[in-house]
Amino acid sequence: MKIKNFLKDVGGASRVTKARLDAFANASPSLETVDPIGDVAREWHPGRIELVITDIRDACRTAKTIRLERPDGKKLPPFYAGQYIVLDFEIGQSRISRPYSISSAPYEARGEHPFVEITVRRSKGDGFICDYVNSELKVGDHLTGTLACGQFYYEPLRDARNVVALAGGVGITPFASMAKEIAAGKLNVDLTILYGSVSSDDIVLKDELERVCEEAGVKNASGDEGKGSVRIVHVLSGDEPDWKGERGFLSAELIRKYSAEDTTYFICGPQVMYTFLRRELQKLDIPKRRVRFEVFGQAKDITAFPGYPMEVKDKTFRLTVVQGIARQEIPAKATESLVVALERAGIRIETGCRSGECGFCRTKVLSGSCYVCPENDGRREADKDFGYVHACAAYPTSDMTIKIPIS
């Protein structure tokens, strides 16, 4: 066979080898060390960072807003309105992490005086840590955190420009972030927040949100298609004679009243509200792609889920924890997730959503059995085959041995 001529053809390997060695010989001896694409990735996701509390103020009678900055005053990572921060706490022996939706706007994390804020209710749900956050944390305290995480945010290539947010209680926080971003002209969305509270003095961030609505303006008022709008509709379920606004729950009827033709619904609130709203939304015949639920959160009562083996519910099992070649044994209550057992024992495990979704706490079960919360089973198929669980959504049903990352 022949490509060009015999000599040139058979000399190919030597020719390309020489070309390569010549290129090496002629190259610069000073190494280019920049990785700008990696730098952007690290700016968005720097991992665990140091934070300092610079302000604590009331968000209503029963909730507080906590402002966090970097000790050096530098910008915080960019994020999408609706995402959360994971904060680490050391309380006594325990090493605990918790996710909090960020209630400040993304632009505020990137401005002249960058900060993020979380808004936390006192003694709701997970009382232990909420009380700690509400009463123990002080301005000037240092802590560590990871941001930003979560899939609960407006995605322009997926969601309708008209957004109806269905919020309950402290579930207002992601929408507060969204509203502020809209008011600042950084997010082009027409947002209507239907906000359910029990009584008017329970309304979290009430004054702040009213200010934001004013700043943002109502829909089409400016005639500027490039700018979004915000309105908030309070809905009270408690008995309050003087209340002039909407009453009752976030019913299908109410939702319909405030919806435009093509609307995306974002839902964030307590677990009972999810159950209620799933039913109400079904009545409205909304396409699946137009409904976005924030993650469910840690199950309040795992024994209430279908298929839970009630016979073990009062038991405490022996949990053998393997990290590298090390092993230790800790107790694990049947009704608490593996993550809680580890945290109680002071063993740090990385967690994110604590709802089985993000997979940060992916754990290998080496022996024994557990119950996985069906509402929070976000595992990969192959992981299921090989006995992996997301430890925040797995509850021991026997003595177990698990392997977790060295921490």
Binding site: I3, K4, A19, A23, I37, V40, G359, R380, F386
Partner: protein, 511 residues
């Protein structure tokens, strides 16, 4: 608490396909291996994630070098030999080519493919088949020579086609076939899997690409690439390999020109006789070698001389209709407004509009991959790192959405269906996403460009002299065989073989 043994034979940095292949092969020979992976699961970009309750493939379009069960190609055979039992599904076609003036779906099998090209460009059957057969001959030689090296005269005798095409670019060899441009265009779509324009791409690489994909077709794992990565990791652990997730290696410890261990981000110093790095040489030589004075000048020049190849940008969507209802009819669609690969390569240097798109509708290879009534559709471009280097953290989201929108609009126009009206879930993966999850240097997934100045044959010829720090091997797309998930297995095995050969030589010297 003590998490590690005092000493390992080999520490592997990175638990993706290359690193896991090294670990499997070394453990199979009885070596004590530690794999340190910074993420919390194996596989690197050969992975999946769950969105809205649906598991989504992150990166694998089609796996080469597997072959049918009774006639495995080298990667398939290695995985079988190691006891990694993957549920492979055959991809039903080669590709649908959507190019200027032609719309056609082509299938694997050298004769069938040639016939299908002939149907589009009559009178080309003989020549196209001859070209593919030449590719196949070169492919067979590459496979044989990688196991049994031989002298040059011997090679010329037994592997004439391999020897005589070695010094030429793909364009130079294809030109000798005097094919009509349209036929050449139909042979070109896979170029993006090796990432160089035909005037730069060694014909040797083109041969392997075509013979493997067109000759044997491709495969995908039923439970997505996480099935493959996880089964490799699980098998390695069953063979005694210690794998630790969430452990980032910051430093490779070197003394007197010899690697002796690593230091992790949490501060563990772990000792070993050998280190295999999946981190790029750029990262290793610029800030991972400790002390830095152990970095040889030759290493610096070598890194500087080589050109980083492609990174990835993908829009992955779960759509709320079955594929047919959206006019999507093929597993893979390669769409370009030209098929001049040199022009397209230039286009990849920017931030768009991109002119060559690779689309996958996963359901055609794996029907149950999404819930009934939905389908998975991804659009990928593989840009050069150059353009993306200029994007700042504050601009990133805007650029990401602009590029994604362009890709979706282009394909919507093609299908005559606005895909944006059907998005159930959407994930946009960018070079920064790759950098975030894998720490690959500048998000590069293709290693160093296959060019005539960095030719695979030259890499093989001088590879031994490029092992500049004793006991330090590289495994990953930046290693000899370059990019691709199949080649990562080969790269991993090569690193392991270097170590096994070194150990054997030392044993022999003792005796």
């Amino acid at each position: 608490m003590k998490y590690y043994k005092d000493h390992y034979d080999v520490i592997v940095i990175g638990g993706a396909l290359a690193g896991l292949s090294s670990a499997l092969m070394l453990a199979d020979k009885g070596l004590d291996v530690l794999v340190l992976e910074r993420h919390n699961l194996p596989g690197g970009i050969a992975t999946s994630f769950v969105r809205g309750g649906i598991e989504i493939e992150a990166a694998l379009h089609e796996m080469m070098s597997i072959g049918p069960k009774e006639n495995r190609l080298k990667v398939g055979k290695f995985l079988d030999d190691m006891g990694v039992d993957i549920d492979w599904l055959q991809v039903p076609e080669a590709y649908h080519a959507s190019l200027p003036g032609v719309e056609v779906t082509l299938h694997p099998g050298l004769e069938r493919f040639s016939r299908e090209v002939d149907a589009q460009v009559p009178g080309t059957y003989e020549k196209v088949l001859k070209l593919l057969q030449l590719c196949n001959t070169v492919f067979n030689s590459v496979n044989e020579l990688s196991i049994h090296p031989m002298s040059k005269p011997q090679m010329l005798l037994k592997h004439e086609a391999f020897v005589k095409t070695a010094g030429y670019s793909t364009k130079e060899v294809i030109d000798t076939f005097d094919l009509p441009q349209k036929a050449v265009d139909l042979l070109a779509p896979y170029w993006i899997y090796v990432g160089s324009g035909f005037s730069e791409l060694p014909f040797t690489i083109f041969s392997v690409l075509m013979a493997d994909y067109i000759g044997y077709g491709s495969m995908i794992p039923r439970k997505l690439s996480h099935e493959m990565s996880l089964k490799m990791a699980e098998r390695a652990e069953a063979m005694g390999v210690q794998i630790e997730y969430r452990q980032q290696v910051d430093k490779i410890l070197v003394k007197n020109g010899k690697a002796y261990g690593v230091r992790t981000a949490r501060g563990d110093v772990i000792r070993s006789d050998y280190v295999i790095s999946s981190a790029y040489p750029n990262a290793v030589y610029s800030h991972m070698i400790e002390p830095a004075r152990e970095v040889p000048e030759k290493a610096t020049k070598m890194v500087n001389a080589r050109r980083l190849s492609l990174t990835a940008f993908s829009v992955i969507m779960i759509l709320d209709r079955p594929a047919q209802e959206l006019n999507i009819h093929d597993y893979s669609i390669f769409r370009g407004d030209t098929m001049d690969t040199d022009v397209l390569y230039e286009n990849l240097a920017g931030l768009g509009p991109y002119r060559y798109l690779t689309c996958i509708c996963h359901n055609y290879g794996n029907p149950d991959v999404t819930p009934e009534g939905t389908c998975s559709f991804s659009i990928t471009v593989l840009p050069r790192v150059d353009g993306w280097k200029s994007v700042s953290a504050d601009d990133y989201d805007r650029v990401k959405h602009e590029v994604a929108k362009q890709l979706i609009d282009d394909m919507s126009a093609y299908f005559g269906v606005n895909l944006l009206d059907h998005v159930l879930e959407i994930v946009i993966e960018t070079p920064m996403t790759v950098a975030h999850y894998t720490k690959a240097w500048n998000g590069c997934i293709y290693g160093y460009a296959h060019t005539m100045q960095d030719h695979i044959i030259a890499r093989l010829q001088t590879g031994n002299e490029e092992r500049l720090i004793q006991g330090l091997e590289f495994a990953g797309a930046h290693a000899i065989s370059g990019d691709g998930m199949g080649p990562q297995v080969t790269n991993g095995r090569k690193a392991a073989k270097n170590i096994l050969d070194d150990i054997a030589a030392k044993e022999a010297a003792k005796k």
